[in-house]
Symmetry: D3
Subunit: 317 residues, 6 copies
């Protein structure tokens, strides 16, 4: 039995090395990037038995994704499509004032046609938890329906459902996103949302605590986690609200920070830990990710615990 | 006034360095690749004033293509699209028994929606020659129509029209291709075709000379050039047939050989040279290309002439 | 149940890029290399469910090996040691007259202390086949005993045992090797040996067929496969001898050719195919390997079948 | 008609990757670097039609420069010399306390023999503006004369002349530089100078405003721009003085900051914008440059405007 | 006659490029690293005639070390061993919160069997100074004895002996280290120790000055240098104590800072300079090292003096 | 006492990686290249105590050369010049029909002003042999005189003088070269010349043997070695002529083959071996060089002997 089953799109990420630009670079670094598979990798590396479900083209390009995920021990259980493409995105990074720029080329990916009957739904039913994000239902009408069906069957089977809102303005507009995700919320047990998405997409206001309590009340989540960038995160459960500051971390590799937070949180939460412990694990995993290139948190439990313990960064020899 | 105007799709080519595989490589080399722009670059570098018309996304990815083509002096005159993507292809190369493998990801490129009113058609009317290939009309219904219209208006304006059949089995099947290109042939003055495409797509048989004469007779081309891989090329004009063997060349970088042949041929032909001279220039340019990475013939007139003169490859110092 | 379980040492391979030298290079390419894991990867990629058993240090260096093997789908089931190191080897490659030079740094690797009680022996008992090589018992007295015990328990459990002689002159001398492997032969069902090792280590003479029949007779193997470098391979089974020529292949990446042959052979043989089919698959896998960097045959069934079918290496597009 | 014509030397810049040292590196990154061509590229990318005049050797090394500049859309109109070399410089960069070290190897470059009759002087006459720097007249007696003649004929033709003092202590001493540039000032309309050059070379004192007003008064410039490193810039025009602070920016890639400021300024000023707008554009372009490797500001108008608008550097997706 | 003779182990350092991880990188940068050879290189580059004695395998891997050290002008006088290996270490670097992680693979290096009769002891006798560190006697019983013998014969010959405590927790525990180094102290003239090692290994307490005076008193050193990381260093000599703050420096390349301090100090001290001058030189060399990749201070006297003079890091051109 | 002292120019060689072109590459590999230092390195690595005299700029660029030569153990004894540059050359390599193209940028190198009083002429007097080439006197009038003086003082001191004609058409024309080198011949004991240079520059005809005997007779050399590319070499000494065929070797890295031949020859000849032995060593060293990137023969005596023994290129493990 799998501890955590995830479902979603994973793309090839193409990025010019160092501070180079997409327009002028002669080579691109290749990484594997997907909100749900990022979570699966972090959770697997931190102790869970995690799986990733999706649909990919039956080609070397599709295998570029599946083999990298398997490398981290994640169980890859995907439909392989004779047609369709793999979504890609170009990431360009630079220091101030440039920042990070993402150019999506993800339309018509094979995954956008994935239906439940192509997927190993038994894995979802038998898992302890099922995770997906608000990106997936935005990618196609089919994927909205598949996401809804998977959440529903997980719910029926008693699998805990966790959902990261993860709004992407280059995928859809706030109104579309709100309608879609609110239609899914009845089958969601644990919600993760950035405070800015809660405001911008779900129309919430007030401080983070108010937002968490409001969502909790309206949608009856078991746990509602609100992240606030450099100001840390906060979780509402029953009548309690727990706060977790961020750990000090570089700005070198910010892409994937949020997924690493969720992966770290779930690695403890799905294993039965309480919410404060899970928050702390999530925050430490997110901090480590920021020092690691690519989308994926290549971390170990020992490293996460060192961050929590505040171990210094002196050379260990 | 431009000597040679070309029209077609140009893609990003992503290839693992050296003999690496797409599935396992951590970086891909980035090149710019398009049958018509390859021809434009070769012709420009060899002395013509060449232009490339197309439609690209208004993004760093689109500019990756336009800036590289401009680097070789080609006039880039493209519609920039707020939507749409740039086609890409993955190229994996290996020595025997692996060979070269191409994985296209070119559906829905911005260029597939290009219509004549978006393009600087005055350039076509005023040019000495207009060149496109049998790939372009295969990419979308719109592009078939645009190709037809551009050939037609070139024809009306007295611009010499040149066309490379360039059949791609991953784009369409032979019957579709035949119907489309034969519909375009009435406005074509100079045809380039590989012997295997003439057989497989156009249903021709006999030896290369018979094929050239047969096509000449049926479609009333001014010049019909039939290429035969390592066996060289042959051109029919009026009652004459000229043969041109290949020059000795490595197998290191074969992609783009055909386009370099056409570019080298046109660099002389459009400048008024006779067919045997043009064939020789084409064959020498093609030979040089095989020693140069990427899709593009980064050559000089002096180098082409050295190949024709049979200069030895000793170290020049 | 696993189809094929393998056991042995896997090292980090450090090699200067291109034709550079170990003495002067400023970076080394990193690959993962082990005779038995090479076989496991080839067999897994070609359709079997394969596992690799070993012992590695519990460190990022140990994980460098396990994560790369998992990437190809192999089940990695290893003891993790708090002490001990990972064996490494330096590989320097050059064209004629340099050739390939291997410098081992493998003494005292964690695996040299591996005992059966640290290993998942149930996997061996339940597998269809168990594979190891003549390198493993040469690495330490402990490993000789562990190899013997694993072959013995496999034999008792009815698991087919396969063994590649794989003599390494930098590990031990021929007399030591002969004594050790002949002590293991009673529990071996399928033997692979290079003709030169049969001569040099086992003291055989005559042509390859005579050698195969002689070994068969003396040690009562079910199948005896004798490889002859560029002259192909030959297998004796019952009263039959089958010959298999090599497929044409480059000399670019020869390291790992032999393991790829065994992996390809076993991918069919363990699946129930007859010996001629298995030989052909082995030879085609070996040919493909020679075009692929590293120790590992990153191949697909389709590619192996193309080599068997003699598909040409023209650009496929 | 060209908006902005520039004239000067462009060199190959050879720099060890990352923090490596010239003495020990095994490869050097290759960039194209010239004060005037840097300005032309920035201005072209930001909307002007810009040209660069110079003299380069007729060789692949010369073409290394011209093709990179053409890539950004700049019109390259150069004399090609059968003799002479291309100037190079070695750039070594390191963090504190190392800093950046430049080693010039620019003596006897082909450009040092460039005379007006080798250059397309009609372009200068017909342009809206002509730009050069105080480096050019320091490179040879011939170049001093050519610079003087081009400024003079621009002036006569009604072309606005702009001049960046750009003192280089490795080219000449302050007294030589002062005599030369003051001899050119009568034909200069817009002067750019660093405050430290105004002090050290032109013998000015007082604060930046006093310096600007003093130069304005003495040499009758239309506009006098004084830059003050991290303290921003200031421009005197008629009776007004405008100040422009710098935008926040990294120290990663400082080489080329000054040229980017001038290029950004001219992209608006030559297009008719007022001085405050031009200063702001210059400062934003300079800030962006500091995040981009090489000498050249690979920027877009949208990026410059984002900096001006103070858009945050969060990941845009 | 050599000014400074050093003795100790030098390893290959293997580190993933940039921020990559050992577990996932496909190439490792190769550097040469040894506490004593680092000192020899710094001292040689800063003006001494320095030598390094050791024992290395007679192989390309051994030559990887000796040729890099010779490159800096150091006299390499080593025993070459037909057996044995070269020690290696893996270094993984990352920004906060990751820090630097060292994984040693140094057991059984050829140097661990080095005895005085294999080494050119005449060099030690004839040198002005002899330097080794507290790492060397920790590597094997043989090396403890060899270190003791070399210090003893240096002492007898009137060669100044200098010793850097350099405690390594991955080599031995504090009690073992204390017993060993205290047994060597009678033959040591100049001691270098980090304050934390003095506390942790030698059981000292109080502030740095108290520690220096206490060690001085107990072991009768001529000079006792106590380093305090970012707080600078302090030296006791006779009745005087001199303090030296650190120079401002990046955290980019911290490995080797301590050895560079010692090398810079000795470059002046062995040449006859007083202690304050030597401290200043040491601190400036250490600061420069932090901006330079690898273990070795690739510096020049001019650069060290610029740091001392507080020259700004503006671009020098 | 040095066995072999050499004198000449050494340049930085800048070459695009792989098959890339100078015009389009974004990085150049950096190598150190000089006919005389190439000989010194080969001879040192093969057992002689060799030195290289020259004049280089006192800069990191100059040290780039001296540190790489020292790495191979060569004694570097050079004048360091505050002025002047280091010569460079661009090397572009490609397979057929491209070949190798050299673009020199060597005018005004610091070495062109080197006079005997700047050089350690005692080394020449005390050496067993002194070597230079026909490139050196072609670089400047001063260098012609210095070469003449060094040969003369070597001759007087009883040092064997060896001279490789090494005609460079990009340095001077055949008539100039002939006049210069014939003026030096009276002080030359051993001449190396390519057959084509003997014909083209010295006006010889007939076969290689006739040429060798003719030069021997006219200029009274002790030994006259004539090389014939792939046809091998031949040496005349007294009344004997010895022939040496080439060993089989790749065409991958041909630059430096001739210098490696001379270095290999001298490594034995200066050590007292007879001419046939020296020829064989030279030919084997030259063959190995062709498999090694850069200008320098990074070889060992064992490797040279393996080539002579015809050891196969199978993987040694």
């Amino acid at each position: 039995m799998t501890d955590l089953v995830t479902f979603g799109e994973t793309m090839l990420r193409l990025s010019p090395p160092g501070d180079e630009r997409v327009e002028t670079a002669d080579e691109y670094d290749v990484d594997v990037a997907g909100a749900e598979s990022n979570v699966a990798v972090a959770a697997q590396r931190l102790g869970l038995d995690a799986a990733w479900l999706s649909k990919v083209p039956d080609s070397p390009v599709g295998r570029r994704v599946t083999s990298e995920l398997r490398q981290h021990g994640v169980t890859v259980d995907v439909a392989e499509s004779p047609d369709g493409r793999l979504g890609t995105y170009y990431l360009e990074s630079g220091d101030v004032p440039r920042g990070n720029n993402v150019i999506y080329d993800r339309a018509n990916a094979a995954v956008t046609t994935a239906t439940p009957d192509e997927l190993p739904t038994e894995r979802v039913r038998e898992a302890t938890a099922f995770h997906t994000t608000g990106i997936t239902p935005g990618l196609s009408e089919t994927l909205f329906e598949t996401t809804r069906d998977l959440l529903s069957l997980a719910s029926e089977a008693g699998t805990t459902t966790t959902f990261d809102l993860n709004y992407r303005s280059k995928v859809w507009d706030p109104a579309e996103a709100r309608a879609a995700v609110e239609a899914l919320f009845p089958d969601v047990d644990v919600l993760f949302t950035a405070q800015r998405d809660a405001e911008h997409v779900l129309g919430r206001d007030g401080d983070a605590e108010a937002i968490a309590r409001g969502l909790q009340a309206e949608f009856d989540f078991d746990v509602t986690v609100v992240t606030r960038g450099s100001e840390g995160a906060l979780a509402a459960i029953d009548d309690e609200v727990y706060e977790q500051p961020t750990f000090e971390a570089t700005d070198d590799h910010p892409v994937g920070t949020g997924d690493s937070f969720v992966g770290g949180f779930l690695s403890r939460f799905v294993d039965g830990a309480d919410v404060p412990t899970s928050l702390e694990y999530g925050a430490a995993t997110a901090a480590l990710k920021r020092s690691i290139p690519g989308d994926i948190a290549v971390v170990t439990p020992g490293e996460v615990e060192s961050v929590i313990d505040g171990a210094t960064a002196a050379i260990s020899r």
